[in-house]
């Protein structure tokens, strides 16, 4: 297949990334930033996660797979300082075999962050240690105040270390197409701080061999304070600012119209996209392309009734538009019964599904009555009489799978889910349910209710999405923005609306003011 030849370079890259991912996770301090994926057809820039084949479990395994996705994927983003021009794109794509420029770019930012962090943690210790090492004799002796400062320095460094570990040393969840502005800002700030402190230290302390050791210790302590404050700033910018809801995002899936509304805070478009995708995997029911189309028998009936004959040699273009217009007009005038057929066909399909569901439920209930948990106390009494074969969950699952297999398969076929559940996966799930003492209804929950996409995903591979937006993706969310998250065969359209400003009034009700009277209809005789 020609698909394989185009993807060969990509699979070479993916093996690279998988082995080096472990290293990255250990000293990773920040998510990786902008880098370009491999290019197909020189036209697209893609958000990419490591180690992922292009055709994965999420897209359909059916026949209606879009094999031309490479030509149809485009990204329109605004220019930023770090955008790569088209010439660079083509140049990079030509060196497909030599993947080192892309690799370096990917590890650049976590490495930078890690180095900066390490330097900034070591700096206060260096400030303290250098005078002791270099001109110990001439230093002023510094007793209790210094020791107090040592203690406070030590604890602050410990707190800095712990909070760095808690906040920043997490494996990245997404690879964004452009720089994460706040993170860059913070890295720059840290660099500036540390650089200026070193500059001052070099000029004022190292050069003249300053003897006031207490001052030096105080200086180191002030650096640690400044680092703690920068970390506070990082916490606020990266973690806290976007928690207060400000916008409502409407996410609609283009293929079947399933939509959800989410509340988010102030985020950039790319961060909002990552957040939406996180929610997508657990909220949206899985995309089943087999459920989409009207049966072809209904749709094609309209047009097939007319045959159009071409008389004479006029302009072909004029004729074709006139032809189609005539056909459409004639079809519109005809009495349209296709909705009738659609209605009856829907009713028929629903009836069939319900019948098969009933059969499945009965078969599963019956199958579950064949086994029960083995109790150890009964062993002594029952084993002399009739030794029962003791099975582990896997064997038990296989034993009771046989009677329900046919009903299960028919049901899955009726609801077009057969591509999501292999026999192996059904037996695994059965084993899982038996082990945890689940009832047949709990076992069937997975097949009767269409679950979120996350349920059908295997987590070993990353997921590739393309962010399509008319504005630069680092811009903040604003009212009326629309951006798309495109995948191979469907996309999510996200619309941004701001949450309304709420004017809350107050009304006090005296608890004693709740009084009632009966409605009267009295009759008085006069």
């Amino acid at each position: 297949m020609d698909n394989e030849s185009t993807y060969s370079g990509y699979s070479y890259k993916s093996s690279h990334s998988r082995s080096s991912r472990k290293h990255r996770e250990r000293r990773d301090r920040h998510r990786s930033k902008s880098r370009d994926g491999t290019i197909r057809g020189d036209k697209s820039v893609i958000i990419q996660a490591p180690g992922e084949p292009l055709l994965d479990a999420e897209s359909t395994r059916g026949d209606d797979r879009d094999d031309n996705w490479g030509e149809t994927t485009t990204v329109v983003t605004g220019t930023s300082v770090d955008s790569i021009s088209n010439e660079d794109l083509t140049r990079i794509s030509k060196d497909l075999e030599d993947s080192s420029p892309l690799e370096c770019r990917r590890y650049l930012s976590p490495a930078l962050g890690a180095i900066l962090g390490l330097i900034s943690l070591i700096t206060p210790l260096a400030f303290l240690a250098l005078p002791q090492l270099l001109w110990r004799e001439t230093l002023d002796p510094c007793g209790t105040p210094c020791e107090g400062l040592y203690i406070s320095l030590a604890f602050k460094l410990l707190i800095l270390l712990i909070s760095t570990w808690a906040l920043f040393l997490r494996p990245p969840r997404a690879a964004l197409p452009r720089f994460f502005v706040f993170r860059c800002l913070l890295l720059a700030l840290v660099f500036l701080f540390v650089a200026s402190y070193w500059l001052f230290y070099g000029v004022r302390v190292l050069e003249p061999r300053e003897t006031d050791y207490r001052g030096i210790v105080g200086y180191a302590a002030s650096l640690v304070d400044a680092l703690l404050f920068i970390q506070y700033l990082a916490l606020v910018l990266l973690e806290v600012r976007h928690l207060q809801p400000a916008f409502c995002l409407k996410v609609v899936r283009t293929t079947d119209g399933i939509s959800r509304f989410y509340n988010v805070g102030h985020l950039s478009i790319q961060r909002a996209a990552v957040w939406v995708l996180d929610q997508y995997y657990s909220d949206f029911p899985v995309y089943n392309p087999a459920l989409l189309n009207l049966p072809k028998s209904i749709l094609t009936k309209k047009m097939s009734a007319f045959k159009v004959y071409n008389l004479g040699d006029e302009n072909n273009t004029n004729n074709s538009t006139g032809q189609s217009r005539a056909m459409i007009a004639a079809a519109a005038r005809r009495r349209d019964n296709s909705h009738n057929e659609y209605y009856y066909e829907e009713a028929e399909v629903e009836r069939r599904v319900r019948k098969r569901k009933a059969r499945l439920v009965v078969a599963v209930e019956e199958a579950f009555t064949h086994i029960k948990r083995y109790q150890d106390e009964n062993a002594a009494t029952s084993s002399p009489k009739h030794p029962r074969e003791v099975m582990d969950p896997r064997e038990a699952a296989q034993a009771i799978f046989a009677p329900m297999a046919r009903a299960m398969q028919k049901y899955l076929r009726a609801t077009r889910q057969q591509s999501y559940h292999t026999m192996e996966s059904i037996i695994n799930h059965l084993q899982f349910c038996i082990t945890h003492n689940m009832t047949p209804k709990a076992f069937l929950e997975r097949y009767l209710i269409v679950g979120p996409t996350l349920q059908y995903l295997d987590n070993s591979k990353g997921r590739q999405w393309t962010l399509v937006s008319e504005e630069p993706v680092t811009a903040s969310l604003r009212q009326g923005q629309v951006f798309c998250l495109r995948r191979l065969d469907f996309s999510l359209v996200v619309t941004v609306t701001p949450l309304p400003f709420l004017r809350l009034g107050e009304e006090f009700i005296d608890p004693k003011s709740h009084k009632f009277v009966m409605k009267l209809q009295s009759e008085t005789s006069v």
Partner: protein, 128 residues
């Protein structure tokens, strides 16, 4: 007998004069009233419009002064001695009817059959 708020109420009324009967210390008229602006109009069995909060005659003691005067059950009392009864509370209506210093009450009452009678009488003569 429904009314349009803000417009004057028009109705065909009958004048009924009742002489109060002295019974011991009380002057009685021999009928019972129901309704009023402080009552629930939905429970009135005699009104056509269930939002009508007027005063209706709910019971008539046979042989009493009201019966003799020609008052019928289900009549809506529009005026008593010149006082309006279409927008009064139940208690006010009772008080207007039972004033100790009055021997005679002159009521203006309306009922559906009056309207019909007028229509019939007018419809019989075609207008020139």
């Amino acid at each position: 007998m429904s009314f349009v708020p803000g417009q004057p109420v028009t109705a065909v009324v009958q004048r009924i004069e009742i002489q109060k009967l002295r019974q011991g210390n009380n002057l009685i008229l021999g009928f019972s009233i129901g309704g009023g602006i402080d009552q629930d109009p939905g429970q009135n069995p005699f009104s056509e419009d269930k939002t009508d909060k007027g005063i209706y005659v709910t019971r008539i003691t046979s042989g009493g002064p009201a019966d003799v005067a020609g008052l019928m059950m289900g009549d809506k009392i529009m005026q008593v001695n010149g006082w309006d009864m279409t927008m009064v509370t139940h208690d006010k209506a009772r008080k207007r009817l039972t004033k100790k210093n009055e021997d005679v009450v002159r009521l203006l009452v309306t009922r559906k059959s009056l309207e019909e009678a007028v229509k019939h009488s007018m419809g019989g003569y075609p207008r020139p």
